[in-house]
C-alpha cells in the first residue's frame, strides 16, 4: 500500500515527534508513505463566513498537488489540517460556483480542481484499511498496565459531516489502545476544546482548560493523555507551566501523540519518539511500566 501524505507546518517543527512516530509505525505496518513533493499551508482553520472564498484557495491548492502526484487521496496526521482540507473540499464539491471561482483564481496552475480528492486521517487508515486486529498481531511491546486517557479535541469529530467518529462519544482511540493491549481510560473531557489558538493571546485561559481536562483524566486514574492534534499537544503539555502557576495543587501529566504510543508498541526506537520535544518528560512513567 502506497499513500500520499500531507504533513502541514507544525509536523515539520514542534510536532516532529508526531510525524517521526507515525512514519516509523506505518513502516512497521508495511505501508509506504510518500510526502507530497510540494505543499503549502492548509490555512489551519476553515473559513466560516459564507462569502470568504479566498481562504479556501490554500487548502484547495494542496488538493491540486495531490492530483499532480498521480493520486486521488491524501492522508493527514494533524487534526486541524484534516478538518480544514476536508471541509474546504466538501464546500467546493457542494457548490460548483465557488469551485469555478477558486479555479479561476488559480489560473496559473496546470490543471483545474474537480473536487475528486479524498482526504483521510491516519486513524481512518488504521481502523478501516489496516484494521486494528491486524495491528494487534504486530505488537512487539504490549502496553500492559499503561492507563491512557484519549483526548480527541474538536477537529477530528466536529462538525459531524467531516468527523471520523461519533460526534459526542468517539471511541477510535480507545479501540486502538485496546489493540495495543493498553488500558484505555474514559473521561468526560475527551472532546472538550483545549482553547486552541487562544494560547497566543490568552494563555491563562488555556491554562485553565488544561487544568480541567488533565485533572479529569487524573481523577479517572490515567497515567498519560494521548492526543492527535499538535495544537492540543502544545496546550495540554507546554501550558502545564502556566497551569501549575495558577493552580498550585495541579500534578504534572505526560502528553503523548497516539502515534508515539503506537510506535512504542510496534517496536520503534526512542529516536523516532523524540521525547526531547516534550515539556513534561514521559520517560519516567514509561520506564516504570517497563516500556522503555
Amino acid at each position: 500500500m502506497k499513500i500520499s501524505y500531507y504533513p502541514g507546518c507544525t509536523l515539520k517543527s514542534n510536532a516532529k515527534n508526531f510525524e517521526d512516530s507515525a512514519l516509523c509505525s506505518l513502516k512497521n505496518l508495511g505501508v509506504e508513505v510518500e510526502e507530497l513533493p510540494r505543499w503549502n499551508c492548509c490555512g489551519t482553520v476553515f473559513s466560516l463566513a459564507t462569502d470568504d472564498l479566498i481562504h479556501h484557495v490554500a487548502p484547495i491548492r494542496n488538493l491540486l498537488r495531490v492530483k499532480e502526484s498521480n493520486s486521488n487521496r491524501v492522508m493527514t496526521l494533524c487534526a486541524m489540517c484534516y478538518n480544514t482540507l476536508k471541509r474546504a473540499n466538501e464546500r467546493v464539491k457542494s457548490d460548483p460556483e465557488s469551485l469555478d471561482k477558486i479555479n479561476k483564481f488559480m489560473y496559473r496552475e496546470n490543471i483545474e480542481y474537480e473536487g475528486d480528492v479524498k482526504i483521510f486521517h491516519l486513524l481512518e487508515l488504521l481502523r478501516d484499511e489496516i484494521k486494528f486486529e491486524n495491528i494487534a498481531k504486530k505488537v512487539i511491546k504490549p502496553l500492559k498496565n499503561l492507563r491512557i486517557a484519549n483526548y480527541y479535541g474538536c477537529m477530528l469529530v466536529r462538525p459531524k459531516e467531516v468527523g471520523l467518529d461519533d460526534v459526542e462519544n468517539p471511541t477510535v482511540l480507545e479501540d486502538l489502545v485496546s489493540a495495543l493491549e493498553g488500558d484505555p481510560v474514559d473521561f468526560p473531557y475527551k472532546t472538550e476544546c483545549c482553547g486552541a489558538y487562544q494560547t497566543v493571546d490568552k494563555p491563562e485561559m488555556v491554562a485553565d482548560r488544561t487544568y480541567h481536562i488533565l485533572t479529569s483524566a487524573q481523577n479517572q486514574g490515567a497515567d498519560i493523555v494521548s492526543v492527535s492534534c499538535p495544537l492540543c499537544a502544545f496546550n495540554l503539555d507546554h501550558r502545564q507551566k502556566e497551569t501549575i502557576q495558577k493552580h498550585p495543587e495541579f500534578k504534572h501529566m505526560p502528553i503523548l501523540y497516539f502515534t508515539q504510543i503506537l510506535a512504542l508498541a510496534l517496536g520503534c526506537s526512542e529516536k523516532d519518539l523524540r521525547f526531547d520535544l516534550h515539556y513534561i518528560d514521559p520517560k519516567p512513567i514509561l520506564k516504570e511500566k517497563g516500556l522503555i
Binding site: G8, L48, C154, A196, T199, V200
Partner: protein
C-alpha cells in the same frame, strides 16, 4: 438591566449582514440554551451564546460588537453539534468578528506581541490565531 427594543434596530442592515455572513436563520432559535450549556468558554463570556443569538435577532449591534465573548469563542463547534434547530452558532459569532475585522479592527495586534510570545508557540497556533483575530 433596561433593554430597549426598537423596530429601527431589528430592521437594521446589521441583522441582515449577520444572517448573510453566517448563512444562518437567526429566527429559528427558540432559546433552549443548549449552546450555552455545552460551551467550554462560557465562564469567560460576558454575553452567552444563546444571548448572542437573541441580541443578533434584535439588532443589538453595539452590545455584540464590543463584547468580549466573540473573541473568547474558539470555534470548537460544540454549540453547532448540539443545537436542536440546526443553527450554526459558531458561524454567527464568526460573522460578528468578521464585521469588525473587515473594518481593520483587529483583536490581536501583531506589533504588541512580544518575541517571547511568538517564539514559544508552534506555527499552527500563530497561523490560526492570526487567521481568526486579524484582518
Amino acid at each position: 438591566m433596561r433593554i430597549n427594543l426598537s423596530q429601527r434596530k431589528t430592521k437594521d442592515d446589521f441583522v441582515l449582514k449577520v444572517q448573510e455572513l453566517s448563512g444562518q436563520n437567526l429566527l429559528a432559535c427558540y432559546q433552549c440554551g443548549k449552546c450555552s450549556a455545552g460551551c467550554p468558554a462560557v465562564s469567560q463570556m460576558d454575553i452567552l451564546p444563546n444571548q448572542i443569538i437573541r441580541y443578533a435577532q434584535l439588532g443589538f449591534k453595539d452590545e455584540l460588537l464590543k463584547s468580549k465573548a466573540i473573541w473568547v469563542c474558539a470555534s470548537c463547534m460544540t454549540c453547532n453539534a448540539r443545537c436542536p434547530k440546526g443553527i450554526n452558532i459558531a458561524e454567527v459569532i464568526e460573522a460578528l468578528r468578521q464585521i469588525l475585522l473587515r473594518k481593520r479592527m483587529d483583536h490581536v495586534k501583531l506589533d504588541k506581541l512580544t518575541d517571547e510570545e511568538k517564539e514559544n508557540v508552534p506555527p499552527i497556533a500563530l497561523v490560526s490565531n492570526f487567521r481568526k483575530f486579524t484582518s
